[in-house]
């Protein structure tokens, strides 16, 4: 599950490198070694052997971070490999399993399908930011109480997603199973199952997960 970034660095012979490098000339080479993420900067192909990087600043769990990362770094890899917040898990790395779900600017997203450099100024909440032992977030406590997991690998993503789901319901966002598009959505098990369908649990703890979310939803409404 570790990042394969090292492998990528070794195999980064650029398809465009040598010919395009000749075109842009020596002056551009000097600028290409600087970060390429600044506003409106003219793109310059990187010289062979270097990996394009860019600067980005965002807040994670209330703490400000300034990073200079390989532009290929996903938000997931930035969290795990650069900030060592390993609560967020890498499952499929293709947006299909939901293990990497985090909350960015108040919305749950797949952190594997977005680049770190695309989040300048963002506010990120991971499972570590929701709560910690001794001061659990209600959703974390409910997952423990209802045994909403077996192996636990999908759990951080499930919990971040569930927190996002209840916020989406509170904001009146309809779902595929909402009978009336213009009515306030219900908090039924059917609604929760549909809204959580982007989070896969291979242990099959789904019914307990729905129980946990239902308890938190009930205590809030």
């Amino acid at each position: 599950m570790d990042s394969d970034m090292e492998t990528e660095k070794i195999t980064c012979d650029l398809a465009m490198s040598r010919r395009d490098l000749l075109k842009v000339g020596a002056a551009s080479v000097a600028t290409a070694t600087a970060s390429a993420g600044s506003m409106g900067q003219t793109a310059v192909p990187p010289p062979a052997g270097t990996v394009p990087s860019a600067k980005v600043s965002f807040e994670v769990n209330g703490q400000a971070h300034a990073l200079d990362v390989d532009t290929r770094t996903t938000l997931l890899d930035a969290l795990r490999e650069h900030l060592h917040l390993t609560g967020t898990k890498k499952g499929c790395d293709h947006g299909q399993c939901g293990a990497c779900t985090v909350i960015v600017d108040g919305r749950r997203i797949n952190s594997c399908l977005t680049l770190a450099v695309m989040h300048e100024g963002a506010t990120v909440t991971t499972v570590e930011g929701l709560g910690a032992p001794g001061r659990l977030h209600p959703m974390q406590a409910a997952f423990v109480k209802h045994d909403g997991y077996q192996c636990g690998y999908c759990t951080p993503g499930q919990i971040c997603s569930a927190v996002g789901v209840l916020d989406e319901v509170r904001r009146g966002i309809p779902s595929h199973v909402s009978a009336d598009l213009t009515a306030r959505p219900l908090l039924s098990a059917e609604e929760l199952r549909e809204r959580m369908s982007g989070n896969i649990c291979r242990c099959g703890a789904y019914s307990n997960i729905v129980d946990a979310i239902t308890e938190v939803a009930g205590s809030r409404t």
């Binding site: 990528e8 409106g40 793109a43 549909e194 982007g198």
Partner: protein, 316 residues
């Protein structure tokens, strides 16, 4: 992923100009499809132009009573917009039938239109694919083609367009607004936006390489009962085998578009005209000239039956 440089665009025309300057550059917005394909090296841009900072995230009324949807409006926000829920229900329903909550929070209106096919032979770089590598052949033709197209396909490609949203946009007669590097704008009717594969399945839309979508507009509300019915292998979070988007008026007239059957959202004028005669008559016109494979011939009766169910729902 192959290495790439990255910039944040300041204006739509600047974004288009940057892509024009860099032969292997691409725009990135939600990134939910592009980054997936970049990880598999099916897409390998050397430069990404991030358009998320452009102020294209509003939904506004148009002067003729319709809606202008900014290119960057997220799928969640479009589906949840009060005007869309009230007047363009088929669009809300199609959006909510697609992807997962996490993906809809990120995916954009323009990006949804530009989704690449989910054909397994397109995704597998060890297989021939005329769309991924023109001239290499089509692995699906003799392969497993349960998901594939039954109408409008060619001997070069039988891939389908995967979008739910685009099927609703097609039945709503949406228009796509674009800008070029010189600031020149144009409007492309959704009917002309997506192409059939022909001999060039790698060319999927009418867009030029350096042309940026700025908005999608909807005409004034069509009224009627609006239905989106999606048939898939799972109850949630799966691409359509087939889907039907319909707007049915009280007198039985209406419009219908079908997904999961072709390289583009599928609509046939003669089928619209036949809607008052029922699902059998309309489906026959929708699927005229169909060339299914043994694996996906089931889609023909499935379209007719799903359309029948949609018409019953619309009249209920």
């Amino acid at each position: 992923m192959k290495p790439f440089t990255y910039e944040r665009a300041r204006t739509p025309a600047d974004a288009a100009a940057s892509v024009a300057r860099n032969p292997n550059a691409k725009f990135i917005a939600g990134g939910t499809n592009l980054l997936d394909l970049m990880k598999l090296q099916i897409e390998a841009p050397v430069h990404l132009v991030d358009v998320n900072g452009l102020a294209l995230d509003k939904i506004e009324p148009t002067t003729d009573g319709g809606l202008r949807i900014g290119a960057l409006v997220r799928n969640t926000d479009l589906a949840a917009d009060d005007r869309v829920r009230r007047d363009y229900g088929v669009l809300s329903r199609a959006l909510l039938a697609g992807a997962s909550g996490q993906l809809r929070n990120k995916a954009t209106t323009a990006g949804n239109l530009l989704q690449r096919t989910r054909c397994a032979y397109f995704y597998d770089t060890d297989q021939p694919c005329n769309k991924r590598q023109p001239g290499s052949g089509c692995g699906a033709l003799q392969g497993i083609s349960r998901q594939h197209a039954v109408v409008g396909s060619s001997s070069a490609c039988i891939a389908t367009h995967p979008s739910d949203m685009a099927i609703a946009m097609r039945v709503l007669d949406a228009n796509v607004e674009t800008v070029k590097p010189d600031g020149h704008t144009r409007v492309i009717p959704i009917a002309d936006f997506h192409r059939l594969p022909g001999d060039t399945p790698q060319i999927e839309t009418a867009l030029e390489r350096d042309e940026l979508i700025t908005a999608v507009t909807l005409p004034r509300p069509a009224g009627g009962t609006q239905v989106y019915r999606k048939v898939r292998d799972r109850a949630s979070y799966a691409f359509a085998l087939i889907s039907v988007a319909a707007i049915v008026q009280r007198d039985g007239s209406g419009k219908v578009a079908v997904g999961g059957v072709a390289h583009k959202p599928w609509r046939v004028e003669a089928a619209d005209a036949a809607l008052p005669q029922g699902a059998k008559a309309a489906a026959a016109r929708l699927l005229a000239g169909a060339q299914p494979t043994p694996h996906n011939a089931f889609k023909l009766p499935l379209v007719e039956r799903t359309l029948g169910a949609v018409l019953i729902q619309a009249k209920a």
